[in-house]
Amino acid sequence: MKYFHLVWAALARRKGRTIFTLLSILMAFLLFGLLDSVRSAFSNTGQAGKDRLLTFSSINWGLPLPQSLYERIRAVPGVGKIEYASAIGGTYQDPNNYVGIEGHADSFLDIYPEWQIAPAEREAFLRTRTGIIASESYAKRFHWKIGDKIPLKTAVYKKDGSTVWTFDLVGIYRISDSSMQSNENTVYARWDYLNEARQEGGGTVDWFAVEVPDLSQIDRVSQAIDALSANSDHETKTETEYAFYIETLRQLGDVGLIVGSIMGAVFFTLVLLTGNTTAQTVRERIPELATLKAIGFSPSSVLGLVLSESVLVLLLGSSLGLIGAAVIVYWVRSTMGSTIFLAPVGEDTWLRGLALAVVVGLLVAVLPAMRGMRLRVVDALSGR
């Protein structure tokens, strides 16, 4: 620590250059923080849904299945709670305000304990045919409160010819499992209301969710469920909810590879830029380093000083960048809700970022620092 003022003074030597270097590092780590947040959001599949099966059309997700399968699936040995749902997309007030709308069976909240809702609001949801429950983030975003009538425009025609579905907001929920919070972009309605009111598709569902209390039975149960519809016009595919999420995310693209590629390009540029700056700084300071060596600083002390300067500037820039990323992610999440694929800039992102900063700092400074360490005092002082 007694050398800290020397390291700090070296950074203040050319303030303009240091500020521009800091800005480039800041931008690189801001990007790192944001992209790592995206990567974390995509990779955070958690453990939820490993004991739940989803049964849907084997042709494509969302193709209707007969609701009558419900009783037959329930009769399969090993099946616990079961529910079904149909989904329609909608918008609120503005075509840009997308709101997912799902109509679910009464047992929905029994099979999904991650959805947390006050008991009174849950009761209200079960007894209000036109009721919906919305996430806290949606309620905040759209200024909804319980008791409000929420008109949602959809592509699905009601029997009265309208495509505007008006619901009663009866409850506010939040999802306790962070890996499932992307579901907060959906309001949950009652399937029976959707089913009765829509012009087409009556008596059908988009999927069934099936709880299997004994995990060792899960493969057998899923095969048994699919066997119910084998060779019919509505063959099903059944898999764990966890596997379904993984597969869905994979279809969106290998986010890790994309993020890694972008970050690789960014940090390659950063290494070139800061490496060049560090080399230039050390070149300019050769007489100063020679003076330090003359008055007794050892070669390793000079090496340490140059490396410390580089690591300090990287740590400063990266910290500012990560703080910026944390602020942006916080702002986006509080504005858009947790529905957007951005995980909070957490401890692991900070650790990865700061470790990366140290590595880059050492990498870009190692050659200039060795030059400083090896310089011959006599030559350096005489300008040779």
Partner: protein, 231 residues
């Protein structure tokens, strides 16, 4: 007076590309403790090379150099750095102060290599600055000081760790006459009143007059020694 620096048969050869340049040729010299010695000679005579060898900034090709009984020609780079920190104070022609540090912090630099606490370093640096007459300008950066004042700061830095000898390479070479006189008087005072052994390279015969003894080098060989009457 006992001998502080013993130089025996010292030669220094530089390789410049394919050319072998012998800068010093079998130099023998004893410098007593408490001496104020001026090294003079034309450019390329080897006076700065000899000074660098005595100050432990360079090592001889042949021969031996002992300072206060220690054979510094046998020390490796790190050991030599440690030895310099403890025994030598340097004063350079262009002051060689760190521009971003205040005078106080520049003077404290050699003390970073000691076990002194921050408050002790600060106190010692203040004493050294007061000794060179710059106690009031401790907080100023080098760019805020005149050349003479910068050289005074450099002298304070050289003496702050109470070294065995002061090695000065053209200490007045970049100063006007008045500032040069002040600096030379200060060196003389350090030699006379504080017993510091000073070895100074200079081109300037007037500067050499402040020394107790002058040595002349030519083509790497000591050619003349002149004992001066104290100014």
């Amino acid at each position: 007076m006992n001998t502080l620096v013993e130089i025996r048969n010292v030669s220094k050869v530089y390789q410049r590309g394919t050319q072998r340049v012998e800068v010093l040729h079998h130099v023998n010299l004893d410098i007593p403790n408490g001496a104020f010695l001026a090294l003079m000679g034309p450019s390329g005579s080897g006076k700065t090379t000899l000074l660098n060898l005595i100050g432990g900034l360079d090592s001889p090709t042949d021969g031996s150099i002992a300072v206060d009984g220690s054979r510094i020609d046998r020390l490796g780079e790190s050991a030599l750095a440690k030895w310099r920190a403890a025994h030598v104070g340097f004063v350079f022609q262009f002051y060689n102060l760190l521009p971003m540090l205040s005078a106080q912090k520049n003077v404290e630099l050699p003390l970073l290599l000691t076990g002194l606490s921050a408050s002790e370093r600060k106190r010692n640096a203040s004493i050294a600055l007061a000794l060179v007459g710059l106690g009031e300008r401790a907080g100023h950066k080098p760019t805020e000081l005149s050349g003479g004042q910068q050289q005074r700061v450099a002298i304070a830095r050289a003496i702050v760790s109470d070294p065995t000898l002061l090695v000065c390479d053209e200490p007045t070479g970049d100063l006007d006459r008045q500032s040069a006189t002040d600096i030379l008087s200060l060196l003389q005072q350090l030699n006379r009143d504080h017993g510091k052994t000073i070895i100074m390279v200079t081109h300037d015969p007037k500067a050499a007059e402040y020394a107790r003894q002058t040595l002349h080098l030519d083509k790497g060989t000591l050619v003349e020694s002149q004992q001066l009457v104290e100014a």
